[in-house]
Symmetry: C2
Subunit: 285 residues, 2 copies
Protein backbone atom coordinates (compact mmCIF):
# COMPACT_ATOMS: atom_id res chain seq x y z
CA UNK A 1 0.00 0.00 0.00
CA UNK A 2 1.36 3.46 -0.83
CA UNK A 3 1.99 5.89 2.05
CA UNK A 4 -1.06 8.06 1.35
CA UNK A 5 -3.40 5.06 1.36
CA UNK A 6 -1.81 3.72 4.54
CA UNK A 7 -2.29 7.04 6.32
CA UNK A 8 -5.90 7.55 5.22
CA UNK A 9 -6.76 3.94 6.09
CA UNK A 10 -5.18 4.23 9.53
CA UNK A 11 -6.96 7.53 10.21
CA UNK A 12 -10.29 6.07 9.11
CA UNK A 13 -9.77 2.94 11.19
CA UNK A 14 -9.09 4.97 14.34
CA UNK A 15 -11.92 7.37 13.61
CA UNK A 16 -14.50 4.60 13.06
CA UNK A 17 -13.85 3.33 16.60
CA UNK A 18 -15.10 6.66 17.97
CA UNK A 19 -18.54 6.46 16.39
CA UNK A 20 -20.89 3.88 17.88
CA UNK A 21 -23.43 5.62 20.09
CA UNK A 22 -21.51 8.86 20.52
CA UNK A 23 -22.81 12.41 20.07
CA UNK A 24 -23.09 13.07 16.29
CA UNK A 25 -21.93 16.70 16.28
CA UNK A 26 -18.65 15.90 18.00
CA UNK A 27 -18.10 12.95 15.65
CA UNK A 28 -18.78 15.23 12.69
CA UNK A 29 -16.40 17.88 14.00
CA UNK A 30 -13.60 15.34 14.47
CA UNK A 31 -14.12 14.09 10.91
CA UNK A 32 -14.19 17.69 9.65
CA UNK A 33 -10.83 18.31 11.35
CA UNK A 34 -9.14 15.23 9.88
CA UNK A 35 -10.71 14.73 6.42
CA UNK A 36 -9.83 15.70 3.75
CA UNK A 37 -6.32 16.32 4.98
CA UNK A 38 -3.55 18.66 3.98
CA UNK A 39 -0.24 17.32 2.72
CA UNK A 40 0.00 14.79 5.61
CA UNK A 41 3.67 15.81 5.81
CA UNK A 42 4.31 14.50 9.33
CA UNK A 43 2.74 11.03 8.96
CA UNK A 44 4.48 10.55 5.60
CA UNK A 45 7.78 11.38 7.30
CA UNK A 46 6.95 8.90 10.06
CA UNK A 47 6.26 6.11 7.52
CA UNK A 48 9.44 6.93 5.60
CA UNK A 49 11.59 6.63 8.73
CA UNK A 50 9.87 3.40 9.78
CA UNK A 51 10.51 2.00 6.28
CA UNK A 52 14.17 2.97 6.54
CA UNK A 53 14.32 1.06 9.85
CA UNK A 54 12.71 -2.11 8.45
CA UNK A 55 9.03 -1.44 9.32
CA UNK A 56 8.64 -4.87 10.95
CA UNK A 57 5.43 -3.89 12.80
CA UNK A 58 3.33 -2.05 10.23
CA UNK A 59 0.25 -1.90 12.50
CA UNK A 60 2.25 0.07 15.05
CA UNK A 61 3.75 2.27 12.32
CA UNK A 62 0.37 3.05 10.75
CA UNK A 63 -1.15 3.85 14.13
CA UNK A 64 1.69 6.17 15.08
CA UNK A 65 1.53 7.98 11.75
CA UNK A 66 -2.22 8.46 12.21
CA UNK A 67 -1.72 9.59 15.81
CA UNK A 68 0.79 12.24 14.78
CA UNK A 69 -1.64 13.59 12.18
CA UNK A 70 -4.47 13.62 14.74
CA UNK A 71 -2.33 15.57 17.18
CA UNK A 72 -1.45 18.02 14.41
CA UNK A 73 -5.13 18.44 13.48
CA UNK A 74 -6.09 18.86 17.14
CA UNK A 75 -3.60 21.70 17.48
CA UNK A 76 -5.02 23.38 14.37
CA UNK A 77 -8.58 23.13 15.71
CA UNK A 78 -7.58 24.77 18.98
CA UNK A 79 -5.28 27.34 17.30
CA UNK A 80 -8.20 28.44 15.10
CA UNK A 81 -10.48 29.14 18.11
CA UNK A 82 -11.70 32.72 18.66
CA UNK A 83 -9.45 33.08 21.73
CA UNK A 84 -6.36 32.32 19.58
CA UNK A 85 -6.19 33.09 15.84
CA UNK A 86 -9.98 33.37 15.37
CA UNK A 87 -9.63 31.79 11.91
CA UNK A 88 -12.88 31.38 9.98
CA UNK A 89 -11.39 29.02 7.41
CA UNK A 90 -8.84 26.21 7.29
CA UNK A 91 -7.75 24.26 4.20
CA UNK A 92 -10.35 26.08 2.11
CA UNK A 93 -13.38 25.23 4.21
CA UNK A 94 -14.87 26.61 7.44
CA UNK A 95 -12.73 26.03 10.53
CA UNK A 96 -14.19 23.59 13.06
CA UNK A 97 -15.47 26.30 15.40
CA UNK A 98 -16.97 28.22 12.45
CA UNK A 99 -18.84 25.09 11.36
CA UNK A 100 -19.71 23.53 14.74
CA UNK A 101 -19.33 26.29 17.35
CA UNK A 102 -16.59 26.82 19.91
CA UNK A 103 -17.76 24.25 22.51
CA UNK A 104 -17.68 21.39 20.00
CA UNK A 105 -14.36 22.69 18.61
CA UNK A 106 -12.74 22.61 22.07
CA UNK A 107 -14.04 19.08 22.59
CA UNK A 108 -12.99 17.94 19.10
CA UNK A 109 -9.41 18.97 19.85
CA UNK A 110 -9.53 17.21 23.21
CA UNK A 111 -11.02 14.03 21.75
CA UNK A 112 -8.45 13.96 18.94
CA UNK A 113 -5.61 14.16 21.48
CA UNK A 114 -7.14 11.25 23.36
CA UNK A 115 -7.77 9.28 20.16
CA UNK A 116 -4.11 9.66 19.20
CA UNK A 117 -3.02 7.87 22.37
CA UNK A 118 -5.75 5.24 21.99
CA UNK A 119 -4.65 4.63 18.39
CA UNK A 120 -1.06 3.82 19.35
CA UNK A 121 -2.27 1.47 22.12
CA UNK A 122 -4.45 -0.39 19.59
CA UNK A 123 -1.64 -0.37 17.02
CA UNK A 124 0.92 -1.75 19.46
CA UNK A 125 -1.22 -4.64 20.73
CA UNK A 126 1.11 -7.10 18.97
CA UNK A 127 4.27 -5.22 20.03
CA UNK A 128 3.49 -4.06 23.58
CA UNK A 129 7.14 -3.52 24.51
CA UNK A 130 7.25 -0.60 22.05
CA UNK A 131 4.23 1.25 23.45
CA UNK A 132 6.03 3.08 26.27
CA UNK A 133 8.49 4.77 23.93
CA UNK A 134 5.65 5.73 21.57
CA UNK A 135 3.52 7.31 24.32
CA UNK A 136 6.49 9.22 25.71
CA UNK A 137 7.64 10.38 22.28
CA UNK A 138 4.21 11.71 21.35
CA UNK A 139 3.68 13.18 24.81
CA UNK A 140 6.94 15.08 24.60
CA UNK A 141 5.92 16.43 21.19
CA UNK A 142 2.61 17.89 22.28
CA UNK A 143 2.80 18.56 26.03
CA UNK A 144 4.90 20.58 28.43
CA UNK A 145 7.61 21.84 28.60
CA UNK A 146 8.59 21.67 24.92
CA UNK A 147 5.70 20.33 22.83
CA UNK A 148 2.99 22.03 20.77
CA UNK A 149 0.99 23.22 23.79
CA UNK A 150 4.12 24.83 25.20
CA UNK A 151 4.84 26.41 21.81
CA UNK A 152 1.38 27.92 21.60
CA UNK A 153 1.62 29.10 25.22
CA UNK A 154 4.82 31.05 24.50
CA UNK A 155 2.60 33.40 22.46
CA UNK A 156 0.91 34.46 25.71
CA UNK A 157 4.20 35.21 27.47
CA UNK A 158 5.33 38.83 27.80
CA UNK A 159 8.96 37.83 27.05
CA UNK A 160 8.87 34.65 24.97
CA UNK A 161 11.94 32.45 24.53
CA UNK A 162 11.99 32.60 20.71
CA UNK A 163 14.18 29.53 20.21
CA UNK A 164 12.04 27.44 22.54
CA UNK A 165 8.92 28.83 20.86
CA UNK A 166 9.96 27.88 17.30
CA UNK A 167 11.20 24.47 18.40
CA UNK A 168 8.04 23.64 20.31
CA UNK A 169 5.52 25.09 17.87
CA UNK A 170 6.69 23.27 14.75
CA UNK A 171 9.87 21.30 15.43
CA UNK A 172 8.50 19.11 18.21
CA UNK A 173 5.97 17.21 16.11
CA UNK A 174 8.47 16.72 13.27
CA UNK A 175 10.96 15.32 15.79
CA UNK A 176 8.20 13.03 17.06
CA UNK A 177 7.43 11.91 13.51
CA UNK A 178 10.99 10.70 12.92
CA UNK A 179 11.54 9.37 16.47
CA UNK A 180 8.21 7.54 16.67
CA UNK A 181 8.65 6.13 13.16
CA UNK A 182 11.92 4.59 14.35
CA UNK A 183 10.43 3.42 17.66
CA UNK A 184 7.47 1.79 15.89
CA UNK A 185 9.98 -0.27 13.91
CA UNK A 186 11.85 -1.26 17.06
CA UNK A 187 14.79 1.11 16.55
CA UNK A 188 16.20 3.49 19.16
CA UNK A 189 14.30 6.77 18.63
CA UNK A 190 16.92 9.17 20.01
CA UNK A 191 19.34 9.22 17.01
CA UNK A 192 16.37 10.24 14.84
CA UNK A 193 15.65 13.43 16.72
CA UNK A 194 17.96 15.77 14.78
CA UNK A 195 16.52 14.77 11.41
CA UNK A 196 13.03 15.71 12.59
CA UNK A 197 14.21 18.95 14.18
CA UNK A 198 15.97 20.10 11.01
CA UNK A 199 12.92 19.28 8.93
CA UNK A 200 10.69 21.09 11.42
CA UNK A 201 12.86 24.20 11.15
CA UNK A 202 12.85 23.91 7.34
CA UNK A 203 9.08 23.60 7.34
CA UNK A 204 8.76 26.67 9.58
CA UNK A 205 10.99 28.72 7.28
CA UNK A 206 8.95 27.49 4.29
CA UNK A 207 5.80 28.54 6.10
CA UNK A 208 7.26 31.98 6.75
CA UNK A 209 8.09 32.26 3.03
CA UNK A 210 4.55 31.15 2.18
CA UNK A 211 3.14 33.70 4.61
CA UNK A 212 5.23 36.44 2.96
CA UNK A 213 4.43 35.32 -0.59
CA UNK A 214 0.82 34.22 -0.28
CA UNK A 215 -2.09 35.91 -1.98
CA UNK A 216 -5.27 36.46 0.03
CA UNK A 217 -6.84 33.44 -1.69
CA UNK A 218 -4.21 31.07 -0.25
CA UNK A 219 -3.73 32.26 3.27
CA UNK A 220 -4.27 35.43 5.31
CA UNK A 221 -1.31 37.66 4.39
CA UNK A 222 1.02 38.90 7.07
CA UNK A 223 -0.59 36.86 9.88
CA UNK A 224 2.77 36.49 11.62
CA UNK A 225 3.52 40.20 11.52
CA UNK A 226 0.07 41.06 12.89
CA UNK A 227 0.52 38.68 15.83
CA UNK A 228 4.12 39.68 16.48
CA UNK A 229 5.40 36.17 15.93
CA UNK A 230 9.05 35.55 15.05
CA UNK A 231 9.46 35.09 11.29
CA UNK A 232 12.50 34.04 9.22
CA UNK A 233 11.61 36.35 6.32
CA UNK A 234 11.41 39.37 8.58
CA UNK A 235 14.70 38.45 10.20
CA UNK A 236 16.75 37.42 7.15
CA UNK A 237 14.83 38.72 4.12
CA UNK A 238 13.45 36.49 1.36
CA UNK A 239 16.84 35.49 -0.07
CA UNK A 240 18.25 34.83 3.36
CA UNK A 241 15.25 32.66 4.23
CA UNK A 242 15.62 30.72 0.96
CA UNK A 243 19.30 30.11 1.76
CA UNK A 244 18.37 28.99 5.25
CA UNK A 245 15.82 26.55 3.83
CA UNK A 246 18.45 25.02 1.51
CA UNK A 247 20.93 24.76 4.34
CA UNK A 248 18.41 23.10 6.67
CA UNK A 249 17.50 20.55 3.98
CA UNK A 250 21.20 19.66 3.66
CA UNK A 251 21.55 19.38 7.43
CA UNK A 252 18.49 17.13 7.54
CA UNK A 253 19.81 14.77 4.86
CA UNK A 254 23.16 14.61 6.67
CA UNK A 255 21.46 13.84 9.99
CA UNK A 256 19.95 10.53 8.88
CA UNK A 257 21.40 7.85 11.19
CA UNK A 258 22.84 4.58 9.90
CA UNK A 259 19.95 2.28 9.02
CA UNK A 260 19.07 -0.29 6.33
CA UNK A 261 17.20 2.23 4.18
CA UNK A 262 19.34 5.35 4.60
CA UNK A 263 19.96 5.94 0.89
CA UNK A 264 16.34 6.01 -0.35
CA UNK A 265 15.34 8.03 2.73
CA UNK A 266 18.02 10.63 1.91
CA UNK A 267 16.70 10.92 -1.65
CA UNK A 268 13.13 11.31 -0.37
CA UNK A 269 14.10 14.01 2.15
CA UNK A 270 15.92 16.03 -0.54
CA UNK A 271 12.97 15.72 -2.91
CA UNK A 272 10.42 16.74 -0.26
CA UNK A 273 12.54 19.71 0.83
CA UNK A 274 12.60 21.08 -2.71
CA UNK A 275 8.78 21.01 -2.72
CA UNK A 276 8.68 23.26 0.33
CA UNK A 277 9.69 26.41 -1.61
CA UNK A 278 6.51 28.35 -2.50
CA UNK A 279 6.03 28.06 -6.27
CA UNK A 280 5.11 31.71 -6.84
CA UNK A 281 8.15 32.99 -5.00
CA UNK A 282 10.69 34.32 -7.53
CA UNK A 283 14.19 34.43 -6.10
CA UNK A 284 15.37 38.04 -5.93
CA UNK A 285 18.82 37.99 -7.54
CA UNK B 1 2.16 6.17 52.78
CA UNK B 2 -1.51 7.08 53.20
CA UNK B 3 -3.64 7.50 50.05
CA UNK B 4 -3.76 11.30 50.18
CA UNK B 5 0.02 11.56 50.43
CA UNK B 6 0.48 9.04 47.63
CA UNK B 7 -1.83 10.99 45.33
CA UNK B 8 -0.30 14.42 46.06
CA UNK B 9 3.22 13.00 45.67
CA UNK B 10 2.35 11.35 42.36
CA UNK B 11 0.71 14.54 41.06
CA UNK B 12 3.71 16.63 42.09
CA UNK B 13 6.13 14.15 40.55
CA UNK B 14 4.33 14.25 37.19
CA UNK B 15 3.92 18.01 37.32
CA UNK B 16 7.60 18.67 38.07
CA UNK B 17 8.54 16.92 34.83
CA UNK B 18 6.63 19.58 32.87
CA UNK B 19 8.61 22.53 34.20
CA UNK B 20 12.20 22.81 32.93
CA UNK B 21 12.36 25.52 30.28
CA UNK B 22 8.65 25.68 29.53
CA UNK B 23 6.43 28.78 29.35
CA UNK B 24 5.78 29.92 32.95
CA UNK B 25 2.13 30.99 32.51
CA UNK B 26 1.06 27.60 31.21
CA UNK B 27 2.98 25.87 34.00
CA UNK B 28 1.26 28.12 36.52
CA UNK B 29 -2.17 27.44 35.04
CA UNK B 30 -1.62 23.67 35.17
CA UNK B 31 -0.57 23.94 38.80
CA UNK B 32 -3.59 26.17 39.52
CA UNK B 33 -5.87 23.49 38.02
CA UNK B 34 -4.41 20.63 40.06
CA UNK B 35 -3.40 22.14 43.41
CA UNK B 36 -4.88 22.35 45.95
CA UNK B 37 -7.29 19.64 44.96
CA UNK B 38 -10.86 18.81 45.82
CA UNK B 39 -11.72 15.53 47.53
CA UNK B 40 -9.56 13.53 45.05
CA UNK B 41 -12.45 11.02 45.00
CA UNK B 42 -11.47 9.25 41.76
CA UNK B 43 -7.76 8.68 42.52
CA UNK B 44 -8.62 7.48 46.06
CA UNK B 45 -11.02 4.99 44.50
CA UNK B 46 -8.29 3.90 42.09
CA UNK B 47 -5.82 3.31 44.95
CA UNK B 48 -8.45 1.43 46.97
CA UNK B 49 -9.18 -0.97 44.10
CA UNK B 50 -5.47 -1.49 43.41
CA UNK B 51 -4.95 -2.27 47.10
CA UNK B 52 -7.81 -4.78 46.99
CA UNK B 53 -6.05 -6.44 44.02
CA UNK B 54 -2.65 -6.66 45.74
CA UNK B 55 -1.04 -3.41 44.50
CA UNK B 56 2.12 -5.21 43.39
CA UNK B 57 3.28 -2.32 41.14
CA UNK B 58 2.76 0.80 43.25
CA UNK B 59 4.56 3.07 40.75
CA UNK B 60 2.00 2.14 38.12
CA UNK B 61 -0.86 2.54 40.59
CA UNK B 62 0.28 5.96 41.76
CA UNK B 63 0.75 7.16 38.19
CA UNK B 64 -2.69 5.97 37.12
CA UNK B 65 -4.35 7.59 40.14
CA UNK B 66 -2.59 10.86 39.32
CA UNK B 67 -3.50 10.54 35.64
CA UNK B 68 -7.18 10.11 36.46
CA UNK B 69 -7.13 13.21 38.64
CA UNK B 70 -5.34 15.19 35.90
CA UNK B 71 -7.96 14.14 33.35
CA UNK B 72 -10.69 15.19 35.78
CA UNK B 73 -9.02 18.57 36.36
CA UNK B 74 -8.53 19.05 32.61
CA UNK B 75 -12.24 18.52 32.05
CA UNK B 76 -13.07 21.08 34.76
CA UNK B 77 -10.74 23.66 33.19
CA UNK B 78 -12.41 23.27 29.80
CA UNK B 79 -15.94 23.05 31.25
CA UNK B 80 -15.37 26.36 33.02
CA UNK B 81 -14.42 28.17 29.77
CA UNK B 82 -16.63 31.07 28.60
CA UNK B 83 -17.96 28.96 25.70
CA UNK B 84 -19.25 26.32 28.17
CA UNK B 85 -20.27 27.18 31.74
CA UNK B 86 -18.39 30.51 31.87
CA UNK B 87 -17.57 29.85 35.54
CA UNK B 88 -15.56 32.58 37.24
CA UNK B 89 -14.65 30.45 40.25
CA UNK B 90 -13.80 26.83 40.99
CA UNK B 91 -13.05 25.31 44.41
CA UNK B 92 -13.28 28.76 46.00
CA UNK B 93 -10.69 30.47 43.80
CA UNK B 94 -10.70 31.98 40.30
CA UNK B 95 -11.20 29.44 37.52
CA UNK B 96 -8.17 28.91 35.28
CA UNK B 97 -9.49 31.11 32.47
CA UNK B 98 -10.44 33.83 34.97
CA UNK B 99 -6.91 33.80 36.38
CA UNK B 100 -4.87 33.15 33.21
CA UNK B 101 -7.14 33.97 30.25
CA UNK B 102 -8.92 31.64 27.85
CA UNK B 103 -5.93 30.81 25.60
CA UNK B 104 -3.83 29.52 28.48
CA UNK B 105 -6.88 27.72 29.93
CA UNK B 106 -7.46 25.85 26.66
CA UNK B 107 -3.78 24.88 26.58
CA UNK B 108 -3.73 23.92 30.27
CA UNK B 109 -6.54 21.42 29.66
CA UNK B 110 -4.75 20.06 26.60
CA UNK B 111 -1.42 19.75 28.39
CA UNK B 112 -3.03 18.02 31.38
CA UNK B 113 -4.61 15.42 29.08
CA UNK B 114 -1.20 14.81 27.52
CA UNK B 115 0.52 14.70 30.92
CA UNK B 116 -1.94 12.05 32.10
CA UNK B 117 -0.84 9.69 29.32
CA UNK B 118 2.83 10.54 29.87
CA UNK B 119 2.43 9.83 33.59
CA UNK B 120 1.15 6.30 33.04
CA UNK B 121 3.96 5.59 30.58
CA UNK B 122 6.52 6.73 33.18
CA UNK B 123 4.71 4.80 35.93
CA UNK B 124 4.59 1.58 33.92
CA UNK B 125 8.29 1.57 32.94
CA UNK B 126 8.85 -1.46 35.21
CA UNK B 127 5.59 -3.17 34.14
CA UNK B 128 5.36 -2.42 30.39
CA UNK B 129 2.93 -5.25 29.70
CA UNK B 130 0.28 -3.36 31.70
CA UNK B 131 0.59 -0.05 29.80
CA UNK B 132 -1.71 -0.96 26.89
CA UNK B 133 -4.68 -1.69 29.15
CA UNK B 134 -4.04 1.50 31.10
CA UNK B 135 -3.90 3.72 27.99
CA UNK B 136 -7.06 2.14 26.57
CA UNK B 137 -8.94 2.34 29.88
CA UNK B 138 -8.16 6.04 30.33
CA UNK B 139 -8.79 6.75 26.64
CA UNK B 140 -12.22 5.17 26.83
CA UNK B 141 -13.02 7.23 29.91
CA UNK B 142 -12.26 10.60 28.37
CA UNK B 143 -12.62 10.25 24.58
CA UNK B 144 -15.28 9.29 22.07
CA UNK B 145 -17.83 7.74 21.93
CA UNK B 146 -18.55 7.39 25.66
CA UNK B 147 -15.97 9.33 27.69
CA UNK B 148 -16.00 12.79 29.27
CA UNK B 149 -15.61 14.65 25.95
CA UNK B 150 -18.59 12.76 24.57
CA UNK B 151 -20.57 13.54 27.72
CA UNK B 152 -19.86 17.24 27.44
CA UNK B 153 -20.68 17.16 23.72
CA UNK B 154 -24.15 15.72 24.38
CA UNK B 155 -24.97 19.13 25.89
CA UNK B 156 -24.64 20.63 22.39
CA UNK B 157 -26.98 18.09 20.79
CA UNK B 158 -30.58 19.10 20.02
CA UNK B 159 -31.85 15.68 21.19
CA UNK B 160 -29.35 14.32 23.71
CA UNK B 161 -29.32 10.65 24.70
CA UNK B 162 -29.77 11.24 28.44
CA UNK B 163 -28.53 7.82 29.56
CA UNK B 164 -25.42 8.08 27.40
CA UNK B 165 -24.94 11.65 28.63
CA UNK B 166 -25.03 10.79 32.34
CA UNK B 167 -22.83 7.74 31.86
CA UNK B 168 -20.21 9.61 29.86
CA UNK B 169 -20.19 12.83 31.85
CA UNK B 170 -19.59 11.33 35.28
CA UNK B 171 -19.70 7.54 35.15
CA UNK B 172 -16.92 7.05 32.64
CA UNK B 173 -14.10 8.39 34.80
CA UNK B 174 -15.32 6.48 37.86
CA UNK B 175 -15.37 3.30 35.78
CA UNK B 176 -11.84 4.12 34.66
CA UNK B 177 -10.77 4.65 38.27
CA UNK B 178 -11.83 1.15 39.31
CA UNK B 179 -10.77 -0.56 36.06
CA UNK B 180 -7.38 1.14 35.87
CA UNK B 181 -6.75 0.52 39.58
CA UNK B 182 -7.23 -3.19 38.89
CA UNK B 183 -5.16 -3.10 35.67
CA UNK B 184 -2.29 -1.31 37.44
CA UNK B 185 -2.18 -4.22 39.89
CA UNK B 186 -2.16 -6.77 37.08
CA UNK B 187 -5.83 -7.80 37.44
CA UNK B 188 -8.37 -8.03 34.63
CA UNK B 189 -10.02 -4.58 34.52
CA UNK B 190 -13.38 -5.61 33.00
CA UNK B 191 -15.02 -7.11 36.12
CA UNK B 192 -14.36 -3.79 37.90
CA UNK B 193 -16.41 -1.73 35.50
CA UNK B 194 -19.78 -2.04 37.25
CA UNK B 195 -18.43 -0.91 40.61
CA UNK B 196 -17.13 2.29 39.03
CA UNK B 197 -20.32 2.87 37.07
CA UNK B 198 -22.53 2.53 40.16
CA UNK B 199 -20.28 4.90 42.10
CA UNK B 200 -20.32 7.36 39.21
CA UNK B 201 -24.10 7.34 39.17
CA UNK B 202 -24.17 7.75 42.96
CA UNK B 203 -21.79 10.68 42.72
CA UNK B 204 -23.94 12.29 40.03
CA UNK B 205 -27.08 11.95 42.17
CA UNK B 206 -25.16 13.38 45.14
CA UNK B 207 -24.08 16.28 42.95
CA UNK B 208 -27.68 16.88 41.90
CA UNK B 209 -28.68 16.92 45.58
CA UNK B 210 -25.83 19.34 46.31
CA UNK B 211 -26.94 21.51 43.42
CA UNK B 212 -30.49 21.57 44.79
CA UNK B 213 -29.41 22.16 48.41
CA UNK B 214 -26.44 24.49 47.97
CA UNK B 215 -26.35 28.03 49.15
CA UNK B 216 -24.87 30.66 46.85
CA UNK B 217 -21.66 30.61 48.89
CA UNK B 218 -21.05 26.95 48.07
CA UNK B 219 -21.98 26.65 44.45
CA UNK B 220 -24.15 28.48 41.90
CA UNK B 221 -27.71 27.38 42.72
CA UNK B 222 -29.82 25.72 40.07
CA UNK B 223 -26.99 25.52 37.50
CA UNK B 224 -28.45 22.30 36.08
CA UNK B 225 -31.94 23.75 35.65
CA UNK B 226 -30.57 26.84 33.93
CA UNK B 227 -28.62 24.76 31.43
CA UNK B 228 -31.42 22.26 30.87
CA UNK B 229 -29.32 19.35 32.08
CA UNK B 230 -30.94 16.14 33.33
CA UNK B 231 -31.13 16.09 37.12
CA UNK B 232 -32.14 13.35 39.56
CA UNK B 233 -33.74 15.78 42.03
CA UNK B 234 -35.93 17.28 39.32
CA UNK B 235 -36.91 13.83 38.11
CA UNK B 236 -37.48 12.03 41.43
CA UNK B 237 -37.71 14.79 44.07
CA UNK B 238 -35.32 15.09 47.01
CA UNK B 239 -36.54 11.97 48.84
CA UNK B 240 -36.51 9.94 45.66
CA UNK B 241 -32.98 11.07 44.91
CA UNK B 242 -31.85 10.18 48.45
CA UNK B 243 -33.37 6.70 48.04
CA UNK B 244 -31.64 6.34 44.69
CA UNK B 245 -28.31 7.30 46.27
CA UNK B 246 -28.72 4.64 48.98
CA UNK B 247 -29.69 2.03 46.43
CA UNK B 248 -26.71 2.84 44.19
CA UNK B 249 -24.32 2.58 47.14
CA UNK B 250 -25.71 -0.91 47.89
CA UNK B 251 -25.38 -1.91 44.24
CA UNK B 252 -21.79 -0.66 44.24
CA UNK B 253 -20.82 -2.65 47.33
CA UNK B 254 -22.44 -5.75 45.82
CA UNK B 255 -20.58 -5.27 42.53
CA UNK B 256 -17.10 -5.70 44.01
CA UNK B 257 -15.52 -8.68 42.24
CA UNK B 258 -13.77 -11.50 44.12
CA UNK B 259 -10.32 -10.26 45.11
CA UNK B 260 -7.92 -10.55 48.07
CA UNK B 261 -9.11 -7.30 49.67
CA UNK B 262 -12.85 -7.40 48.95
CA UNK B 263 -13.96 -7.02 52.58
CA UNK B 264 -12.06 -3.83 53.50
CA UNK B 265 -12.92 -2.36 50.09
CA UNK B 266 -16.64 -2.99 50.71
CA UNK B 267 -16.40 -1.22 54.07
CA UNK B 268 -14.60 1.72 52.48
CA UNK B 269 -17.17 2.04 49.67
CA UNK B 270 -20.06 2.06 52.15
CA UNK B 271 -18.34 4.68 54.29
CA UNK B 272 -17.52 6.92 51.33
CA UNK B 273 -21.08 6.65 49.98
CA UNK B 274 -22.51 7.89 53.28
CA UNK B 275 -20.28 10.97 53.00
CA UNK B 276 -21.86 11.87 49.66
CA UNK B 277 -25.16 13.06 51.19
CA UNK B 278 -25.03 16.86 51.52
CA UNK B 279 -24.83 17.70 55.23
CA UNK B 280 -27.36 20.54 55.16
CA UNK B 281 -29.98 18.46 53.39
CA UNK B 282 -32.72 17.45 55.89
CA UNK B 283 -34.67 14.45 54.71
CA UNK B 284 -38.30 15.40 54.11
CA UNK B 285 -40.32 12.77 55.96
Amino acid sequence: MDPTARIETALNRAFLRTLPGGPPLLAGAMRHAIFPGGARVRPRLCLAVAAACGDDAPDATDAVAAAIEMLHCASLVHDDLPCFDDAATRRGKPSVHAAFGSPIAVLAGDALIVLAFQAIAWGALATPARLGALVLTLGQAVGMPSGICAGQAWESEPNPDITAYQRAKTGALFAAATMAGAAAAGADPLPWRHLGEYLGLAYQVADDLLDAAATEADKPVGQDARLGRPNAVQTYGINGALDLLTSLAHDAAAAIPDCPGATPLRALITQEASRLVPKNLARVA
